[in-house]
């Protein structure tokens, strides 16, 4: 629905609001943001200039503070950030603890109310132990004549078929994409918490 707004200032306002509400349950966040999108669309279609509309709406942080105070105030926001940091850490390095940490991270990821289904699916693809874990599992790649041989294969008596550069790139991309999703989500959560802590009104 946000895509129905073309004005860059309004979109920036909505992005900021969305980020400030990131620790609310997805359903509540969507409802508030969609209502504000509707408000902006109606006001602009009635001929009000975007500056006036945004000014009357108030700072995104003020709206976010209202949303949080109508829930359970700052404690929840702070705990939510720690929760997301824990999820990230467990998914990235939890696999090294016999895989148990990664499983705990996975359970926490799916229990999170602030994430969308798509985000949960993407972050589930963060393999135990991260990229290093994936490589250790397959063996250290050894490059030879334009192909990569994974450790175990390179020293075997009967040479195994080479692993192509594309396979290696695929493994890296398959890891990098969910990692990027996870880190972006965490960065947005931290940003929301920082602006809230600073009380940074414009």
């Amino acid at each position: 629905m946000k895509s129905s707004i073309n004005d860059s200032r309004a979109r920036r306002y909505l992005d900021e609001l969305d980020a400030d509400l990131l620790d609310l349950p997805v359903r509540d966040r969507r409802e508030i943001v969609e209502s504000v999108v509707e408000h902006i669309s109606i006001a602009m279609s009635s001929g009000h200039p975007v500056e006036e509309v945004l000014q009357k709406l108030g700072d995104p942080l003020t709206v976010s503070e209202e949303a949080h105070s109508r829930n359970a105030s700052g404690w929840r926001r702070k705990s939510s950030i720690f929760y997301e940091i824990a999820v990230t850490t467990l998914l990235l390095v939890g696999g090294l603890l016999l895989g148990v940490g990664w499983i705990v991270g996975l359970v926490m990821l799916w229990a999170s109310k602030s994430r969308t289904l798509l985000n949960k699916i993407a972050c589930t693809l963060i393999w135990p132990g991260g990229l290093l874990g994936a490589w250790l599992f397959l063996g250290i790649p050894v490059r030879s004549e334009g192909h990569f041989y994974f450790g175990a294969d390179a020293y075997s008596v009967h040479p195994a078929p080479p692993t192509s550069v594309w396979t290696l790139l695929f493994i890296t991309a398959a890891y990098a994409i969910p990692l990027l999703v996870q880190l972006t989500f965490l960065a947005r959560s931290l940003r929301g918490a920082r602006t809230s802590a600073a009380g940074g009104r414009h």
Binding site: S4, L17, D28, E31, I32, S35, V36, E38, H39, S41, I42, A43, S45, S46, K56, L57, G58, D59, P60, T62, V63, E66, A67, R70, N71
Partner: protein, 119 residues
């Protein structure tokens, strides 16, 4: 000057807290007489001086809907995008009646005290 500001601030907060406390009931009372959509409701409350930032209406409306005091319906508009209309539920009507009775009683007591009525 500093003294004036520090003396003024508690008064400002009192007004804000008072408005904040009664806002949801004012919304229920406005919606009792007909369904409204967010934008027009925000403007109306802003003009009445009950809402400084129009955007803060939406977390409140979301909470009213979540707690079952209002419900929403989408309606097409001849000018502009579809609108989400808010309507008071039966639970909302009950809540509003209770608040109205409480407000009447409290208002009488507070007005009596403010007017120096010692009975």
């Amino acid at each position: 000057m500093t003294g004036t500001v520090s003396r003024m601030e508690p008064d400002g907060r009192t007004a804000v807290n008072l408005r904040r406390g009664v806002l949801q009931y004012c919304i229920l009372a406005i919606l009792r007489d007909g369904d409204w959509y967010g934008h027009i409701l925000a403007r109306h409350l802003n003009e009445l001086g009950l809402l400084d930032s129009e955007g803060t209406l939406y977390p409140l409306l979301a909470r009213l809907r979540r707690t079952g005091l209002v419900e929403t319906t989408w309606r097409e508009s001849t000018s502009g995008p579809p609108r989400r209309y808010y309507k008071v539920t039966d639970t909302g009507h009950v809540e509003l009646s209770e608040f109205a009775a409480e407000w009447k009683q409290l208002g009488t007591v507070v007005n009596g005290i403010l007017n120096g009525d010692r009975r």
